[in-house]
Structure formats: structure tokens, C-alpha cells
Amino acid sequence: MALYIKKGRVIDPANEIDEIRDLKIDNGKIVASGLAVAEEATEVDEVIDCEGMLVIPGLIDLHCHLREPGGEAKETIASGTRAAARGGFTAVSAMANTAPVCDSQSGVEFLLKRAAETGIVRVYPIGAITKGLKGQELAEMADMATCGAIAFSDDGKTLSRSDLMRQALQYAQMCQRLIICHCEDDDLVHDGVMHEGYWSTILGLKGIPAVAEDIIVARDIQLAEDTGSAVHIAHVSTAGAVELIRQARARGVNVTGEVCPHHLALTDSAVEGYNSSTKVNPPLRTEKDRQALKEGLRDGTLTILATDHAPHTTEEKAREYAYAPFGISGLETAWPLYWRELIEEKVMTISEMVASLTIHPAKRCNLPGGTLSVGAPADITVIDPNMEENVSLEGWESQGKNTPFLGWTLRSWPICTIVNGQIVMKDRKIVD
Amino acid sequence: MNLPDKAQLMDSEGIRRAITRIAHEIVEKNQGVEDLVLVGIRRRGVPLAQRLREKISDIESLNIPLGSLDITLYRDDLSTSHVQPIIHKTEVPFSIDGKIVVLVDDVLFTGRTVRAALDALMDMGRPQAIQLAVLVDRGHRELPIRADFVGKNVPTAKKEIISVCVHEIDGDDSVSIQKLHL
């Protein structure tokens, strides 16, 4: 039995395809792509009519917190991958800040084993740079790389010691893996909870200055340049960081940067009212920063879109703003938010946006997928670009209900997610 | 709701005569004005008390103390409506201990305003006696309260509205009744 995807607008940036075609999927792979391929379908085959729909490579999220092991009340690999599938993602990379920290071969193996048992999309482990995320000793990166870690990051924390960061870059390069940097100067952040500026002044909340991010982005770029290593800047949020990355790329430094949906859709003014769902790290910045991120995406300085999906329990978030944990549950609203900010605002073409969510992250971490080439794994997402939906918790799959977008009406939603030739989400619902 | 059929019950002259009569009754009942003080209930009891004071001064050649009372903080209907009354100052710049207080208001209706005023006076001291003077008594008491001095008794239906205008506040003097058609 084969699966046919019929008459969709197939957008495959890696192959420079953007046209109405059919796809044929068999045995977990894309076996044919072209006009009228679906006409050969027989009664035993399944055909999905995609007229008016976008058919794109399955979305790949380089930045996700699945919380398992240790944080199962917030999210599990099962619930997190269901949220991913509902959001159109066919692969997610799990950050290492679990309990215990994913800083060894056994941590990576546990994650892959649990993902195989309970996950419904691909899960790629990201190993810790330092043991226990303590910033003192390098973790066994080579071991972790061997058994499946796709990159290394102490995300959630900045590696404060510059000597250790320099050594990590050198060592990771030897392991042919990317270092992903969470960039914040701890001393400047101190106990800040939102962007430092007009709104922190009004709301009386301790601010996190933009320079706290810029200073570490600058440092990590310099270290990458110095060591000739590759570095990826997670969740870029400031105009200063965009400019630093722009200049570095212009002089040939191997640096990339990613942007999260909330930093494109919201500014620090959203903190008014103290909704703890707006508490995120790095914080929501100013309109100037938001526009700089868009300009960075427009001019190719920033090439990757990632969610920084950070689920928390309702109880943890129902606290005083200063005491609530940082994070937004982002997988299920990422695509329509990007659409709103990048397509409707004419920042990028659809093809460019798709590339930032598929082939660019895949290439950056040497992942399979990201294309609709014949012979590629059948990881495919179907988008209804005209569908309007109110963001609500009805049907919400993530255990983390911490979204600041409740009640927003967004256009363009994933309606079908196919992983390895299997339909895991159809009509906005997980196929069990 | 509309308010037609407005009928005048007293004009300026009528009010003047009523005040004059009440002034005489107060003096007569108390056999003079020793220990007598006047306290008007805000808002329209205050100008009426002022007029009584002038009349009594004409009769007895003596100015008796005059105060004004805002009973808002003593009302029993807080939270039953969405509009808060604006509280005016209570000005009773003399001791009422051992005095005969003549409380003055424009209309006596349910008796609740007078009840509140009695409580307010009690919190200011211990008067020898409290008497009540009103321009109009329209009936429908909800409390066992009666007036000692009445300008005019007006039988009313409960839903009718009695409007008292005094020139100090409203620009002219009149008492009128309005029927309420719901």
C-alpha cells in the first residue's frame, strides 16, 4: 500500500521546487514526485487530496525542551512529540537540561530509547557541553556524538568561563558537531525577569539588559573565529546580536543564528498585566529588536527558525511573575506565528521560510530530511495556508499550557504531519 | 420612565410661611432658645436650618448655633447601588453635649435618613434632647420616627416623587409632586 499526496503546492527549497505536483510514498520513503503521479493510485492505496494546500518537508526544530527525564510533570517525550506533530514538526532536538542532565552516553541512549518507545516524531539528542551543566568540566562529547548526539549545548545556562568555551569549540569541532550557545552574561542578568527598558521601569520588574546577550554573542563569535569552529547562537533576541552575527558572517566566521516565534510576534509591552506566560528567556524585547530580527531573516543573517519550546506546569506558571519559571510552550503555534510575522509581513518568501525550518537546520547539524527529494525519508508536512483558528487549549497536546497566544486568531495551520511515511497527525488531531 | 403631571404643592411664599410657623413652634415648645442648637441635614436641610435660625433670631434677638451634617457614612444602604454618594463635610463646630438639638431636613419619608442622622449625632456627643423639624412629611415611614415640627403634611403614594427646591441650591423655592408612570 502506497500513500499519495495529490495536487498540493509542493515547496522543496533544497531542490528549488515550488509547483503543483503529486508525491508518492512507499516504505517510509518518497518514491516519486511529479505531475499526475497520483493517477496511478489503486484502491488499496491511500490518497490525500491536497488541492490548495502547501506540501513541504517535515519541519525540524533545532531547539526544544522535552523535559524527560526528570521533568515529566511539565512534558514527556510522548506529549512533547505529540505537540510537535500537531505543530507540523517531524523532528525535534531535545536540549540537555533534563534531570539528570544529558551529559553522557547513557543520557543520550536513554533519550533515543524513550523516543523510540513513546515518541511519534524523530527526536535528536543534544548533549551537554559541560558535566551537569555546571560550566566546570567538559562532558564526554565524543562518546555522545558516537551514540547519536547531534550537537552540544548548555542551553538554559551560559557557559561563563571563556577558557572552557574555547576548549569546547575546539573539541566539538574534532567531533564534527556544532556548539549551540545560550548567550547571556549571568552577572548582567542577575535576577532579571524581563527586558530592561521602558516596560520594566513601568512594571517595576528587574530588567535583563540587551547588552547581557550581546556581550556573550560577541565573545562566542570571537572564540569561534579564533578556533575556526562552527557556532550556532540560540534564540537571538537583540538588535545588537543580529548585527554582531551579520558582521561575523561577512568576514567568514562559521556562525549561524536562530529566531523564536515569540520574539517575532511579541515585544516587552506584552508583559503588562504580568501574564507569566510572557516570561521567557531571553526576554521579549523591544519593537526595535523585533524589527532587527526580521531584517536579519530578510537579509540572510539569521537562517534558522526554532521554537525554544519550554513547557511548564500550570501551577509553576500561576505564580508571581518574578517567581514563575521562564519559558513558552511553542511547538503548536510556531508555524502560524511565523506565517503571520514573516509571510503576511512580507519579510520572506514561503520558500525561504520553509528552508529556515527544514533544509537549513538539517544541513547545519547534518540531519537526514529537510527535503522532498525522491529517495529521501518521507517526513512531510501539509499546511492549509487559508485556515483560520483561534489559539485555545482545546486539543492542545503539550502538557505545558504556558502560551501567551491564547485567544489569538492565526492563519495558516499544519493539517497533516507524516513521519517516515506514517501519518501521525491529520486534521489537527494526532492519529493514535 | 417619564415624569409628567408635576404639581406644585408649595411656592416660595408657602415655604416662607411654613418656616416662620416652625420657628415660632420651636421657641414655644422649648420655652425660649437657651441650650438650643440647629443642625441641618445635607444638602437641603442646611439652608432650611439657616432660614429657621434667622427667623428665631428675629423672634428672640439671639443667634443660636448652626451646624450641618452629612449622614453618608451612617447610611444603611451601602453596596445596594452602584453609585457612591459624594461625601460632604460635616460641620458642627460646637459641642452638642447637654444641648437640645433641632435636626432639620427637607422631607421626612422612610425615616432612614433621620435614623442615620441620630446615629451621627450620638457619635458627636450626648445631647439633652433631639427634636426633628421637616418642611414636608410625606408618610410611608419604615422606622418608628416622627417629626416634632412639620411644614406641611402631604399624603402620597409610595412611588410618587416629592421634589423640594431651595433657592440657595436650586435657584428657586418650591415643593412639587410628580406621579411616576412606569
Partner: protein
């Protein structure tokens, strides 16, 4: 006129009309405080719970007396901030108090926004008695009442707020209230204690106390929290006092009829010199009395009802 807000969270966004209404209502309350029998029955049967997560004898006592003078039942719950982090959540505590029938919860909390959070989860009406560095609306109102009594108006006055603006909820409530009422507000303090973009709130910012005091009608001196020095925000108390303390010499730059306010408790010799604190251009004790009056007005308005129907009977 009526007070439509469920909760009193701050002075930001309040209209001049609302502020005037509260200040006008505080005047008869002041008369009640000054009588022999300091009690009116207005709030009989109402329950006011003062939920204080930060120590504050002054504000708590002021609210408690305000409630008692109006015959409300007032209960105090004092909890240390350490138990906030580990113990029962604010929302759970609030819901418990709510279920017991509280009409008003007066909340003092170290975290900015805590009253807003609580207000969304309880039926009782919330009065913010100071939250983090956000607002302290009743302090702002009592300061305005004191200024208005002494100066007759707020409009057109130049008010200088002096001290740690960054960490001051009093400063923020004063800024919102005073600018709304048409006063010109200046803030002055060490550069490290002026919040970012403070001028966008409609004030002028100064680091020179001499310039900030030039021609001022009112000086509101803030309490300097001594622990700020340990965080490196200024080098020493000695240097702070030398640069920023309000003393007689500096006061000469203000108008001759200058009024000095301080929310208390004072660090004499740090932010304010003794001869200034005790001088008769200081209204620091009046502020305390006005605090009770303003809080009575707020309690009354937030529990308020009745009809002001004048002569219609």
C-alpha cells in the same frame, strides 16, 4: 461618580477625575479621625484582610485603623517572603481568604504584579498596599492629599522626588498620580538608581540634586534601602549622603514655601538631615494622618453604594 474598578492596583491609568474624587472623599474621613468617637458604622459587617508578605508596621496599621474607624472587621495575616517561595501559593492563600468571606484583601508583596495576579483569581476586591518596585497607590494618594492641603492644588507645582527611584514603588505611584494631576515631576538620584527610560514616563531626570531642587515647590525624599550599597549601586552611605541628602543648604534652592515629604521610616542623616526632617516645612506627620484618611476613602469607595439623590424622596 463611582469607583468602577474591581481592584486598586496602581495610579497608572487612573484619571484626574478619579484621583480628585478619592482625595475629596478623604477630607470628611479626616474629620472622623479627629473626633472623640473615631468610628462610623459605614462598613459594618464588611471584612478587610490585610495580607502582608513584607514587614510594614506603618502601612499595615494605617489600613487596619482605617478599617476599624469605619467599623469593618479587619484581620492581619503576616507572612514572610521566604515562605512565599516554598509555602502555599499566593493564589491558594487568596482563594482560602476569599472562601472565608473577605470583602477586601489589602496585599503587600515583594513581587511586582502580585496584586494583579491575586485579583484575577479571587472575588474579593484587592487593594495594592505596595508590590515590589511597581506601585504603592495609597502612598501616592496620601502624598497628593498632603500636597493639595498645603498648596491648595497640584496643578502646575514642581515636585522633586529624591533618592532610589529604581527600586521605589512610591516614586512610580507619585509620578503617575502627580503627572495626571498636572504637576511637573522631577526625579533625582545616583545614575545607577534611575530606572531606564524614566523620562518616557513624563518626568525630568537629574543626577545633580542642586539642579533638581531649583525652584521646587515640593520635595519627596525616598527612603534609602541600605542593602543597595552591598549590591554595588553606590559606593557608600557616606558618599550618598554627601551627594544626595536633603539638608538646609540644598533646600535654599527650592521655593521659600517648599514642602518636604518622606514616606517613612526615615534614615536621618542619610537621605534627610535632622534639621529638615523636624522643620515645619516638613509634613511628615500629616502624611501619616492623611494615610489613614485616604485608606478610609478607598475602603469606602471600593465597598461603596447608596444613592446621592439630594432632594428627591
Amino acid at each position: 461618580m463611582s469607583f468602577q474598578r474591581k481592584d486598586l492596583l496602581g495610579l497608572r491609568g487612573m484619571t484626574a477625575q478619579e484621583i480628585s474624587y478619592i482625595l475629596d472623599t478623604a477630607l470628611p474621613m479626616k474629620d472622623v479621625i479627629q473626633r472623640d468617637i473615631k468610628k462610623v458604622p459605614t462598613l459594618r459587617g464588611k471584612t478587610v484582610v490585610c495580607l502582608f508578605y513584607e514587614a510594614s508596621t506603618r502601612t499595615r496599621t494605617s489600613f487596619e485603623l482605617a478599617g476599624k474607624y469605619m467599623s469593618a472587621d479587619t484581620i492581619n495575616i503576616s507572612t514572610s517572603t521566604s515562605s512565599v517561595v516554598k509555602g502555599e501559593s499566593l493564589i491558594d492563600t487568596g482563594k482560602t481568604i476569599d472562601a472565608m468571606g473577605a470583602d477586601i484583601i489589602v496585599l503587600r508583596h515583594g513581587a511586582s504584579g502580585a496584586p494583579a495576579l491575586l485579583g484575577k483569581h479571587v472575588k474579593a476586591r484587592i487593594i495594592n498596599a505596595g508590590d515590589g518596585f511597581h506601585e504603592h497607590p495609597t502612598q501616592g494618594l496620601l502624598d497628593m492629599l498632603t500636597i493639595r492641603e498645603r498648596k491648595g492644588t497640584l496643578e502646575g507645582l514642581t515636585v522633586t522626588i529624591l533618592g532610589d527611584i529604581l527600586h521605589s514603588r512610591v516614586a512610580r505611584s507619585n509620578i503617575w498620580g502627580l503627572t495626571t494631576m498636572g504637576a511637573k515631576v522631577r526625579v533625582c538620584g545616583p545614575a545607577t538608581l534611575l530606572p531606564p527610560e524614566i523620562e518616557a514616563l513624563g518626568v525630568e531626570a537629574f543626577t545633580s540634586v542642586e539642579e533638581a531642587l531649583e525652584g521646587a515647590d515640593v520635595v519627596n525624599v525616598l527612603r534609602m534601602q541600605l542593602e543597595r550599597q552591598q549590591k554595588g549601586l553606590f559606593p557608600s552611605i557616606r558618599e550618598y549622603a554627601r551627594l544626595f541628602a536633603l539638608n538646609k543648604e540644598r533646600l535654599k534652592r527650592c521655593k521659600s514655601d517648599v514642602l518636604v515629604l518622606h514616606p517613612g521610616p526615615m534614615n536621618r542623616g542619610v537621605e534627610i538631615a535632622n534639621d529638615v526632617a523636624d522643620a515645619d516645612f516638613s509634613a511628615i506627620e500629616e502624611q501619616v494622618t492623611n494615610g489613614v484618611a485616604v485608606r478610609m476613602a478607598i475602603l469606602y469607595l471600593m465597598m461603596g453604594g447608596g444613592t446621592a439623590n439630594g432632594s428627591v424622596h
